[in-house]
């Protein structure tokens, strides 16, 4: 999927760019000539080799070699799009399932003066795109699909979604020229060929060099055109959805991008390595909880108000977001204002839809994994993580004491003065590499402490003394069950710091003179005096 908010997009207003466009077109023709020329040369090599009457094995090697070199060119020219869209991502939704969404899209297409898509697919990423399965080097139009990321439906307002979809449709509006579309497809062909050559070696590396310099020249030429196309699509979007909605949508997208990535790693996919997932409808749908949280929202505000000003790559087809926003915000007031709410209100029965999108997105084997509600998931994932961290410590304990590894057995080893022996059996932390003496001992003890803390947490959690509660505002951390703590556990500010007595007890285990007494006492108090 090449078109979209983040990737390159075809089409656009070509006014004032005709000189560059002609040059780009010439370069594109050159690209095809280079491709076909190289192919002809390779065929000629094969033919000449056959005529020269080479030995069978040598000839076979030449055939294979030329075929390897020809393949990227053939695939680049003929199969660039077809290959990549054989299995379109997401879930198709028909007009009967999502009438409001379809009607809205049709209206937007009409307003933009272009034909509506034949298919709408809801995807699992922060992206919206229109894709056309064109044929014959991109000269013939094909089936047009619109992709809408579920996170956008959740995180954009209805008018912001209008702006985003209008922008995408704008790339295909009447103002576009077929030439621009061709130029864009050439870009995709070239990058595809280049990517294929990048994987090869030897003569392929030589071909990579040739194509690289050619493609760089081409990309630099077309970049200015693409940027103008993006600005034109933005302006068209502003006309349809209003200045403020368009600008705020552009600001919202990087925030949603960052926010959704965070949401996946810290919530939806937090337990994936341990075979734990949220329920299918919440896998994507749960994003709304994060967006609704005031603290997280404040963090995202920072992105919304200060857009990242990355150094633009000369090959980037999109202008920097900050520049696009500035152009839109400089438009005169249009009295349209900003709307509110979530575009999810345009979706009929979002829960089953998001569940279907999630299932399509997760690999087949993932669909069989354990599905939990959020609270159960966070606890289970926290425990699984801690258990994994404690594993090597238990292994070392078992190896040194020969018994069934457990926390008390480990503490016995520490009491016997074997703490550093245990620590030396754990995986060496990066920091400790190349160190020696006491510095190394301390680095290893730090690693030991992490794993000991994890083991203590698992032990306490399994005894029902604590766990990893769900919070949409904070990272998931182990917390002792309320009321289990001695009254002294308040810090200077008066807030209860549940970890404090535990930390002190852990510190004592790895102190200069290791003492397990505090920890043993605390574990006893917590687990037996409930």
């Amino acid at each position: 999927m090449a078109s979209g908010l983040v990737g390159g997009s075809g089409g656009g207003n070509m006014a004032g760019t005709s000189g560059r466009a002609v040059r780009a077109a010439a370069l594109l023709v050159g690209f095809y000539l280079l491709g076909f020329g190289t192919l002809a040369l390779l065929v000629a090599v094969d033919v000449v080799s056959a005529r020269l009457g080479m030995s069978g094995s040598v000839y076979a090697r030449i055939l294979v070699g030329t075929a390897v070199l020809a393949l990227p060119i053939l695939r680049g020219i003929f199969f660039t799009r077809g290959n990549r869209m054989r299995k379109p991502p997401g879930v198709a939704v028909g007009p009967a399932q999502q009438p409001v969404l379809w009607q809205r899209t049709a209206e937007l297409a009409r307003a933009m003066g272009t034909r509506p898509p034949r298919e709408i697919r809801i995807t699992a990423d922060v992206n919206a795109a229109v894709h056309e399965n064109s044929r014959l080097l991109g000269l013939l139009p094909g089936k047009r699909r619109m992709f809408i990321g579920a996170p956008l439906l959740i995180g954009l307002s209805p008018a912001q979604l209008d702006a985003v979809l209008a922008h995408e449709l704008g790339h295909y509006s009447n103002q576009d020229t077929r030439l621009a579309g061709l130029v864009h497809r050439g870009r995709a062909s070239m990058t595809n060929t280049l990517r294929l050559y990048a994987k090869t070696r030897g003569t392929g590396g030589f071909m990579f060099g040739i194509y690289k310099s050619y493609a760089e020249n081409y990309l630099r030429t077309t970049q200015a055109i693409s940027r103008e196309q993006e600005h034109a699509a933005d302006l068209a979007a502003a006309r349809i959805a209003g200045r403020d909605n368009t600008a705020s949508a552009l600001r919202q997208i990087p925030a949603l991008d960052a926010g959704f990535g965070f949401y996946l790693t810290h919530y939806a996919a937090v337990g994936r390595t341990y075979g734990l997932l949220p329920t299918a409808d919440e896998y994507l749908g749960g994003f709304r909880h994060l967006l609704a949280d005031p603290r997280r929202s404040a963090e995202l505000d920072a992105i919304r108000s200060e857009l990242p000003v990355g150094k633009p790559s000369p090959y980037d087809s999109h202008p920097p977001m900050a520049e696009r926003v500035a152009v839109i915000e400089a438009l005169p007031e249009d009295g349209r204002g900003r709307d509110s709410g979530s575009a999810v209100q345009l979706v009929h029965q979002p829960a089953p839809l998001f569940a279907a999108v999630a299932r399509a997105d997760l690999e087949p084997e993932q669909a069989r994994e354990q599905q939990l509600d959020w609270a159960a998931l966070m606890h289970a994932a926290g425990r699984a993580r801690a258990f994994a961290a404690a594993g090597p410590l238990l292994g070392a304990t078992a190896a040194l004491s020969g018994g069934n590894a457990s926390l008390p057995l480990l503490l016995d080893l520490v009491d016997q003065g074997r703490l550093d022996e245990v620590a030396a059996m754990l995986s060496e932390p990066k920091r400790a590499k190349g160190t020696s003496g006491l510095l190394r001992v301390q680095h290893l003890r730090t690693e030991f402490t992490h794993r000991l803390r994890a083991l203590v947490q698992v032990t306490l959690a399994d005894a029902g003394c604590g766990g990893w509660p769900l919070s949409w505002s904070r990272d998931s951390v182990f917390e002792l069950r309320a009321g289990l703590l001695p009254a002294t556990a308040t810090d200077i500010t008066g807030t209860t710091t549940s970890a404090q007595p535990l930390d002190a007890a852990l510190d004592a285990v790895v102190a200069l003179r290791p003492s397990t007494e505090h920890l043993r006492q605390l574990m006893y108090q917590l687990t037996y005096r409930q």
Binding site: G437, L438, Q442
Partner: protein, 394 residues
């Protein structure tokens, strides 16, 4: 040795050197092929022997002072024997400045391998010197774990280890102080500890009271305390200037504490902008601070252990000021032990010293070998300097 000690005393985080000087230092390091003759800015060289200066081979950065007993105790500790160290502290007695130097040198050895120290502790559990060396070795170890990176580049793991080590120090210092109540050394060891543990200002001030009660003009203690008051730790430029001026005002001439002011000029008051630096170094404020330091030095006991520390700062800044005759004189007097700031800022410990020295000597030659000017008269600081505010208050 100089690394951790000086970081703690003056530069808890990456040492900052004039990048111009650093470039020169790098250039000098590249000319290592002929190390005896580092070239001046225009490629000219100076033969150290011709000027009665130590050659590169004669320079010493392994120990901060020339002290055969300390060198012997260090060698013995490396070999696993504690007795010479114990003997050393016995003979040093109440020379607090020297006692602290011996503590840091032996502690940095113990931070690598503490077998000898553990044996000492076991043989003489009541020896305050051993306890203090152990405490100080943990401070060293803490900083090695933390590394001298900027705070934001220190990992969570490093902070864990750093605090774990520092948290062990107070109990040991208390133990040492109970054994030797008059000894300021354990209290001085507490200064970088309190800084690392980010003690609140009033707690630190209380600790400082204990230090100065036992050793009112201890130079290394003052440098350690100054670190705490820097903006990057728990103070500000104002705090630092106030601390420095109070210390200098309450000390007699000859205390060497004027070096705090020179340190401050280089570390906190120097403009960030390279372009403005030459004007800064040749300005009235620097001239006044240097003149005060020269007067302080003239009044000092030449046997004071930290004389070289003040000379080093003077040699550097006098050169930056273009007062080459006076700078040359400081280099001549400094001798071959140069494990002092600012020389220790350069990685090899000598390149900044050598390039600065070459500049001073060539400058002196270019001026036609002028005689040493008379000692400057004491004066008030320039009215527009930050020092003036605090100088007058005191």
């Amino acid at each position: 040795m100089a690394g951790i000690l000086d970081r703690l005393a003056g530069h808890a985080q990456p040492t900052r050197v004039d990048p111009g000087a650093l470039a020169a230092a790098v250039a000098a390091a590249r000319r290592k092929a002929d190390p005896a003759a580092p070239a001046g800015p225009d490629g000219r060289t100076v033969r150290a022997e011709d000027y009665g200066l130590p050659t590169v081979q004669q320079l010493r950065t392994d120990l901060p002072v020339e002290d055969p007993a300390l060198a012997a105790a260090l060698a013995a500790a490396r070999a696993g024997h504690w007795q010479p160290a114990a003997q050393l502290f016995w003979s040093v007695g109440q020379d607090w400045e020297r006692r602290y130097v011996c503590t840091t040198v032996l502690a940095s050895q113990a931070a690598q391998d503490d077998a000898w120290l553990r044996a000492w502790r076991q043989a003489h559990p009541q020896d305050a010197a051993a306890v203090t060396v152990q405490a100080r070795s943990l401070v060293d170890l803490a900083w090695q774990i933390r590394s001298s990176n900027r705070a934001q580049d220190v990992s969570r793991d490093q902070w864990d280890g750093f605090f774990r080590m520092l948290n062990e120090v107070p109990a040991l210092c208390r133990e040492a102080s109970a054994l030797a109540p008059e000894d300021p050394t354990p209290w001085i060891v507490m200064l970088p500890t309190a800084m690392g543990l980010q003690w609140p200002n009033e707690d630190f001030t209380a600790l400082w009271t204990e230090v100065v009660r036992r050793a009112p003009y201890h130079v290394k203690a003052h440098l350690a305390a100054l670190s705490y008051w820097r903006p990057r730790w728990s103070g500000s430029v104002e705090h630092a200037v106030h601390f420095v001026e109070t210390a200098i005002a309450s000390a007699p001439r000859g205390s060497l504490l004027t070096l705090l002011r020179l340190d401050l000029l280089n570390s906190e008051l120097r403009p960030d902008d390279q372009q403005q630096r030459p004007a800064f170094w040749t300005g009235d404020q620097v001239r006044w601070a240097v003149d005060e330091a020269l007067a302080d030095l003239a009044a000092a006991d030449p046997g004071q252990l930290r004389v070289g520390a003040l000379r080093s700062w003077l040699a550097r800044i006098l050169t930056l000021e273009g007062r080459h005759a006076e700078a040359f004189e400081q280099f001549r007097q400094l001798g071959s032990f140069i494990a002092f700031e600012p020389w220790s800022f350069s990685k090899d410990g000598t390149s900044l010293y050598l390039t600065t020295r070459t500049t001073a000597v060539l400058g002196w030659e270019d001026a036609g070998r002028p005689p040493l000017p008379p000692l400057p008269q004491p004066a008030a600081p320039p009215a527009d300097s930050l020092f003036a505010r605090y100088f007058q208050q005191i």
